[in-house]
Amino acid sequence: MRSEPEIRSALRTYVSRHAGDVAFTDQTALFSVRVLRSIHLPELIMLLERLRGAPIDVEQLRIGDFDSIDAMLTRFGGPHA
């Protein structure tokens, strides 16, 4: 499992690949501003699973889990998060 700073860095890198010219922070509502779209979710889930070293149960996903980089860290930042 990667450390939280490593996961944060990897998420920033992933988001920046899709953000184009759109500025974002760790609090940006990434789906609302369309930096990320539904098509990115399967890939993002696999990335988080790899970074945290544990699977993500799709049935346990909740509204808001992917709202921002901070939200993703809070929800998936550790193997039991």
Partner: protein, 291 residues
């Protein structure tokens, strides 16, 4: 909970394939309810559109990947004399009721799965200069594993109000439409509760659309008990991009509110009983809500 005998006495004509015909009190109630939803749509000066029964399959590739189990295709026989002769001279229909097909022609159309798809397909490649509001009613077809009269049908009537605009315009539209739906339902004595919802995707865990519905508040359903009477759907720019519908150089955002008419019939009968004289007035509450 009204049973089939009670609903039949009120004008339901149910068949085992999951289809409902209407006459008598239920038909009048369905017309009144649809008129009420048209009145809601008039709040946005929504343009009425009456679409055809089918959509080109080429316009629904993504939908068919996501919901192949629900699709109903329009097919025909290969139109050669030989093939038509083989069909006509054969059993035509087998003992179990299945058509004994010979060679079929290319399948290019799908029976409408959702009313609003026509709104986007008919605007493919257009440029909008301002928000557009459309209302449409059509028969929708969705295959299911089981059917229940008025609650879950192979085909059913869907009235929709659709907004094509900016993100802010679609957000405002959904908020207002949900509030008006609540108000109308309350005035006819139907308690509704809006809840986040997901569509019944095929292999959902692999479907980006399903995953988005789990983590973003893009779909809500107005629940009467366990029955969804309406849904409010935010598509962002998905249909704007898919159908190349633009405004000021960017794909439009879209949103829709959909009403399943048969389910409203069920709810009214369930709530107010099988005596049509005890059913609520429909027209006046709709006028009050939209006044």
């Amino acid at each position: 909970m009204p049973d089939l005998a009670a609903l039949t006495a009120l004008g339901l004509r149910w068949d085992a394939y999951g289809q409902a015909g209407l006459t008598g009190p239920l038909l009048r109630l369905a017309d009144d309810l649809d008129h009420a939803f048209q009145q809601l749509a008039a709040q946005w000066q929504a343009v009425e559109e009456r679409p055809p029964a089918t959509l080109p399959a080429s316009a629904l590739t993504g939908h068919l990947r996501a919901f192949p189990h629900q699709a109903t295709f329009a097919i025909g026989l290969e139109p050669t004399d030989t093939n038509l002769g083989e069909f006509a001279d054969g059993p035509v229909v087998g003992p179990a009721g299945s058509v004994v097909l010979t060679r079929t022609g290319p399948v290019t159309t799908v029976l409408t799965p959702a009313a609003c798809f026509h709104v986007y397909a008919q605007r493919r490649g257009t440029q909008l200069t301002e928000a557009a509001y459309v209302t449409t009613r059509t028969t929708c077809f969705r295959r299911e594993q089981h059917y229940e009269p008025l609650r879950r049908q192979w085909n059913f009537s869907m009235r929709e109000i659709v907004c094509l605009g900016t993100s802010d315009e679609t957000t405002s539209f959904l908020a207002e439409a949900r509030a008006q739906t609540d108000d109308f339902a309350r005035r006819i004595g139907l308690p509704l509760a809006w809840a986040p919802a997901t569509d019944p995707f095929f292999r959902p865990h692999r479907q980006p659309g399903f995953l988005l519905q789990r983590v973003q508040p893009v779909k809500h359903e107005a629940m009467y008990g366990s029955l969804a009477l309406a849904s409010a759907n935010r598509h962002h720019d998905h249909f704007g991009s898919t159908f190349d519908i633009n405004r000021a150089g960017v794909p439009v955002s879209t949103a829709c509110v959909a009403f399943g008419l048969e389910r409203w019939l069920y709810a009214v009968v369930d709530r107010h009983g099988t005596d049509p004289g005890a059913w609520p007035e429909i027209a006046l509450p709709a006028e009050v809500v939209t006044a």
